[in-house]
């Protein structure tokens, strides 16, 4: 459905996206994972025919991004990083305008707007000014705008950044509902978000693809150790030394004033050992949890491992 071939983009002399290759098939939900400045937005803008590629090309539903941009625009719904909403319009007026510019035929506009309002849970605020809505609702209006012409493909650029936790959950839920009927590309710099919604991840770093894999494959290939976080009331050097001395410990890092990250081999029942030690020494356990792999960790791993191989 989406085929990207040797896609590169220069901003002036600056190479923002370097030689991307990947495909997305129909019905798939693909996560685009990368830190800020990795080139996610740039790639999405190119796919949506907002920016031209400097080199390479992409085909979407068989249409070429250079030759048939108008067809592509009709098949894609795009939610940019900042929802493209006019703050001085009401939700209703805005969605009708969006429907019209997205090419929905005059007679079908009202129905399309109703459908989008319904899907995004905006019925109650349809007559309100967008500028008066919360950030979460504005994001929903942005999403409704992307859905308005019933596109086959949805491209969502960091749909949950800047929202509070409750709003994030709601938007994620919405996206999960949409996943059953759309092909979705979603960018994010938050790993759990991608792991909740997406089947496959494209990890992009400094404009290049660092890995493409299913989520299980990725975590399996990267998780060679278990990590535990131990937070105690009375943290001191003794804690650090005792943890290091514990049998099977690979490494211990002090995370902050009261927390330590203990790394151990995969599959060892380390939780018990650490807990017993902490109880014996009366450190006062505040938290003992599995330190989930953050995106930064994955990046560090991917980039350093590659470098090691190269050396």
């Amino acid at each position: 459905m989406i085929e990207v071939e040797n896609l590169s983009k220069f901003y002036g002399p600056r190479l923002a996206v370097n030689n991307l290759n990947f495909t997305v098939s129909q019905g798939e939900v693909v996560g685009f994972l990368g830190p800020n400045g990795a080139g996610k937005t740039t790639t999405m803008n190119i796919l949506c025919c907002i920016l031209p590629a400097s080199r390479g090309t992409a085909r979407i539903c068989g249409f070429d991004i250079f030759e048939q941009s108008m067809e592509i625009r009709k098949t894609i719904g795009y939610l940019p990083e900042n929802p493209p909403v006019y703050l001085d319009m009401t939700v209703d007026d805005y969605l009708q305008f969006a429907a019209a510019v997205r090419g929905v035929a005059g007679k079908k506009i009202a129905a399309a707007a109703d459908r989008a309002l319904e899907k995004c849970g905006l019925k109650d605020v349809r007559r309100r000014l967008i500028g008066k809505l919360s950030k979460g609702y504005q994001q929903r209006v942005g999403l409704a705008q992307a859905l308005i012409h019933d596109p086959k493909i949805l491209i969502l650029d960091e749909p949950t950044t800047g929202l509070d936790p409750l709003q994030i959950m709601e938007i994620r839920k919405l996206i999960q509902d949409l996943a059953s009927s759309h092909t979705i590309i979603l960018s994010s710099h938050i790993l759990p978000e991608v792991s909740q919604i997406c089947q496959r991840v494209v990890i992009i770093n400094e404009g290049e693809i660092a890995a493409i894999d299913s989520l299980e494959g990725l975590t399996a290939s990267l998780r060679k150790t278990e990590r535990l976080r131990l937070r105690v009331r009375s943290a001191n050097d003794d804690v650090l030394q005792s943890l290091k001395a514990l049998e099977g410990t690979l490494s211990v890092q002090q995370e902050d004033d009261s927390a330590f990250i203990v790394e151990s081999p995969l599959g060892s029942p380390f939780q018990d050992k650490v807990a017993r030690l902490a109880l014996d020494r009366e450190w006062g356990i505040v938290e003992l949890s599995s330190a989930s792999m953050t995106l930064e960790d994955i990046f560090l791993k991917l980039t350093t491992e590659e470098k090691e191989l190269a050396e």
Partner: protein, 255 residues
């Protein structure tokens, strides 16, 4: 074309639902009316004097002595007000990130540019036509010729079309509305006074500068003459400015 109207319709809605339109219109009408009644006052004073001193009606002409200067002054006020009308058009879309909606929609850039132009010109047309009460008033108190008043309005509308096109061009260059207003004001004023350089520029370039000047083309309209070369000048001026706007926005994407 449908798409341009869509853009224009949204733009007009946003004008009319915000204070900008009303503030600008009221300021414009107040300024214009003040100047207009000064002119009218001066005229009645002169014709009274003429009647007393010479004891006869010199046939002082309402068209030459009231309508023409009124139009001249209106042009100056418009020069000052139009940058405020046009400064939002693209700068605000860029700043508010709403431009992505338009750019990712199946519409052409030129339709967007033309839609913005239509909206701003439409707003100006409303403002300008509201001022016509003053001319109607003249018909109640005297017998001016209607022809030059009508062609005068045509000329003013065409000239504001050029101002609007320049303003939109300026707005496409930046995402800062103040910068857009300053740029368009500077450029409009320059196109206004460029004819003044005619004498210094000598016999070769002089006529060209005179031809380029926005205000010189207004003179014949105010006298009641619609010369196709003047109409052509204004239309091509608008076209060229809008063409440049299109180029600017398009090249933003390629950079």
């Amino acid at each position: 074309m449908r798409n341009s109207f869509l853009i224009a319709k949204r733009e007009l809605g946003s004008f009319f639902s915000s204070a900008i339109f009303y503030v600008i219109t009221v300021v414009f009408l107040l300024l214009y009316s003040f100047i207009y009644f000064q002119i009218l006052n001066f005229f009645s004073f002169q014709s009274l004097q003429a009647a007393q001193v010479r004891g006869m009606d010199l046939g002082l002409n309402l068209n030459d002595m009231v309508i023409q200067p009124a139009f001249h002054n209106m042009a100056v006020i418009l020069l000052l007000m139009i940058p405020i009308v046009t400064m939002r058009s693209f700068a605000e879309e860029k700043k508010g990130k709403t431009f992505t909606l338009l750019l990712s929609s199946p519409i052409h850039l030129k339709e967007i540019v033309f839609g913005k132009f239509l909206a701003c010109w439409g707003v100006l047309t409303v403002m300008i036509l509201l001022s016509s009460y003053s001319i109607a008033f003249l018909f109640m108190i005297g017998r001016p010729e209607i022809g030059p008043a009508l062609t005068g309005y045509l000329g003013i509308l065409l000239m504001s079309g050029c101002f609007v096109a320049v303003g939109i061009l300026a707005s496409s260059l930046t995402d800062n509305q103040i910068v857009a207003a300053a740029l368009s004001f500077g450029f409009m004023l320059f196109m206004w006074v460029v004819g003044w350089g005619a004498q210094a520029a000598g016999p070769n370039i002089g006529p060209i500068l005179e031809y380029l000047s926005l205000i010189d083309h207004l003179e014949r309209f105010l006298k009641g003459i619609v010369d196709s070369s003047d109409v052509f000048y204004y239309l091509s001026f608008m076209f060229f400015a809008l063409f440049l706007t299109h180029r600017v926005l398009d090249s933003n994407r390629w950079r």
